[in-house]
């Protein structure tokens, strides 16, 4: 075989790997390595300025288990996650149905519902913090029209959770609706036709055709909401801006775990302990994702 042919063959066989290599190398260095190294750091006494100050085994983990502030942050994270996600998915599903009817000015409505997605989270946090301010916010003014007393949204626990969940839902509901709409449109029309011929009601069609056909997409939407929700950071940080923003309110009433992680790393300068928080959060995300997939899988049996 000529050298030329051999080179050409070598080029053909090696090119694919060269083409995908940049992705894997860069993701490995700046994505996977830091995440993995977090485990190593969490087993050490490691400070922001002093660096590695020695192996401590699982000491950080045992400390975390009895750390009330951590459990408080986990409670807040989960509460906000649930308060935000459940209505968000249901609303997105309903909105997708609405957008799936024959509409005039189709694109206008679609763009209209996802404009919030183009707004930065920082802007969302700042705008909503103003809207939810106790004395002069537009929300309290509005509920005041119905005779409701002003609520100190960023002072009390449940109201702060609700306000933060509102920010999350405002930004993501329309986007999820579009994803679900795409999935709705991929459902073969014939399925509905034959169901209609069999005399199935609209509700029955929704339950027996639409929901099962949407299962993979629902799974995706729920997974993304979970990964994002458990790492929630910016909205609560900017809800009560100022020098102590990272504590999520005077009594940590809305400090999420991601905020606690950052507080430990940069305010407390305890990298080892912060890495422990990160690793536990990672485990939490994995567990919740598994639970999600089990729940969504059950949809298949809805009949």
């Amino acid at each position: 075989m000529h050298l030329r042919d051999r080179l050409a063959r070598l080029e053909i066989s090696s090119a694919p790997y060269l083409f995908i290599a940049p992705f894997f190398v860069l993701f490995g260095i700046f994505g996977l390595f830091p995440l993995g190294y977090t485990l190593w750091v969490s087993l050490h006494d490691w400070s922001l300025l002093g660096g590695n100050e020695g192996w401590v085994g699982f000491a950080n983990y045992t400390e975390l288990v009895s750390d009330d502030y951590f459990w408080n942050s986990l409670l807040n994270t989960f509460a906000i996650f649930l308060i935000a996600t459940i209505p968000q998915i249901l609303a997105a599903l309903a909105l997708a149905q609405v957008l799936n009817s024959s509409l005039r000015a189709l694109t206008f409505w679609r763009i209209g519902v996802i404009i919030p997605t183009a707004t930065s989270i920082a802007a969302v946090g700042i705008i909503f913090a103003m809207m939810f301010s106790r004395d002069f916010g537009i929300v309290n003014w509005f509920i005041g029209l119905f005779g409701v007393e002003p609520i100190a949204w960023n002072q009390e626990r449940l109201p702060s959770w609700l306000a933060i969940a509102t920010m999350v839902d405002w930004r993501w509901t329309g986007y999820n609706a579009l994803i679900l709409l795409a999935a709705l449109q991929a459902v073969p029309k014939e399925l509905y036709e034959s169901a209609r011929l069999d005399g199935a009601s609209a509700l029955r069609q929704f339950r027996s055709i639409t929901i099962p056909m949407l299962r993979p997409t629902l799974m995706f939407v729920v997974t993304v909401a979970t990964i994002g929700g458990i790492q929630l950071f910016t909205e609560p940080l900017l809800f009560n801006p100022g020098a102590n923003a990272i504590t999520g309110g005077d009594t940590r009433q809305f400090q999420t775990s991601a905020m606690y992680l950052v507080e430990q790393a940069f305010t407390g300068q305890r990298f080892g302990y912060a890495a422990t928080v990160a690793w536990i959060l990672f485990a939490v995300i994995v567990v919740v994702s598994i639970v999600n997939s089990l729940l969504v899988r059950r949809i298949r049996s809805v009949d």
Binding site: F19, F23, V98, W109, P116, A123, I126, P216, L261, A275
Partner: protein
């Protein structure tokens, strides 16, 4: 939050199919839209733009109007003055922050688009051992919460001597699994195999085929991926907030500094928020049809 913008759940089945089969999709027009449907949509769109409108109202009024009761509901005439005050304020160099955001977003967009096209082309059209496993790995990376590695990432930037610099804000975002997957989907159905075979027969190298045959045909996908990537980087908050030096922030970080001041001038903060938001929202509306199409199509063509 870094989020893959397109569903990937359907890809698993797709991997078994040797050729991308364009699935027959007909729009399910089950119901004609009733007036009630439009009413719901009007309400949803109002809720969508309401907070942005409120931002405009507050950004265009004197700061003293913040405390008026009932709250003002129409824009005032001070937008120009408030914007000037944003650029003149001593705490945050706002013009620099805008420029920093532009640079960070542009660099990340360029690399994401280029490297995603390259890898997407390989996954869609080239034959190589382990392809399916590599592709699954790419999809897997979208499910990994890499932000949780922020402590070692911060240390890494220190080791590289980049702590606090703009580079530290860019490097973690040079590639995205979403981008690779998105391009792979597009290449599969936009580029006929015959085109590549023909170029091969002519003796073109794989890279030349990519550069001269494939990449030029990817323009629509490049535009959508570019816009989405730029938007995501421009709006990014958490990592730039942690890594950038306080005197050299991106615009989102600058906003948080403005709003966190001891004495908060809300009109100024709102004008700043407007400056950081409106350009992107306008681009989004301008290219809305394409972006919506990109979000909706990408995930289903598999």
């Amino acid at each position: 939050m870094t989020t893959p913008l397109i569903p990937v759940a359907t890809v698993a089945q797709d991997l078994d199919e040797p050729e991308p089969v364009r699935r027959r999709r007909r729009r399910v027009r089950s119901r004609k839209a009733s007036p009630l449907t439009y009413l719901v949509l009007v309400f949803v769109v109002l809720a969508s733009i309401g907070p942005l409108y409120y931002m405009l109202v507050m950004a265009s009024r004197p700061n003293s109007d913040i405390t008026s009761n009932p709250p003002p509901l129409t824009p005032g005439d001070q937008l120009g003055e408030n914007v000037t005050r944003v650029f003149d304020n001593p705490d945050v160099v706002f013009a620099q922050a805008l420029l920093n955001s532009l640079m960070v977003s542009a660099v990340a967009t360029l690399t994401v688009v280029t490297l995603s096209s390259l890898a997407g082309f390989a996954f869609a059209k080239l034959r190589f051992r382990g392809k399916n496993i590599f592709l699954l790995a790419v999809i897997g990376t979208m499910m990994v919460p890499v932000q949780l590695g922020l402590v070692p990432l911060y240390m890494l930037m220190g080791w590289l001597g980049l702590a606090g610099s703009l580079w530290s804000a860019v490097l973690p975002f040079l590639v995205t699994g979403f981008g690779v997957f998105f391009m792979r989907q597009y290449v599969s159905q936009a580029i006929p195999d015959e085109l590549i075979e023909a170029a091969r027969v002519d003796g073109a190298s794989t890279f030349r085929i990519f550069a001269q045959v494939v990449f030029p045909a990817l323009r629509p996908a490049v535009a959508v991926l570019g816009l989405l990537t730029f938007m995501e980087r421009w709006n990014d908050f958490m990592w730039p907030y942690l890594t950038l030096a306080p005197e050299n922030p991106t615009v989102q970080v600058a906003l948080s500094r403005l709003s966190g001041g001891y004495y908060t001038d809300q009109a100024l903060v709102m004008a700043g928020t407007l400056l950081a938001t409106v350009p992107l929202v306008l681009v989004f509306i301008l290219f809305g049809r394409r972006i919506v199409g990109g979000i909706m199509e990408g995930g289903l063509k598999g």
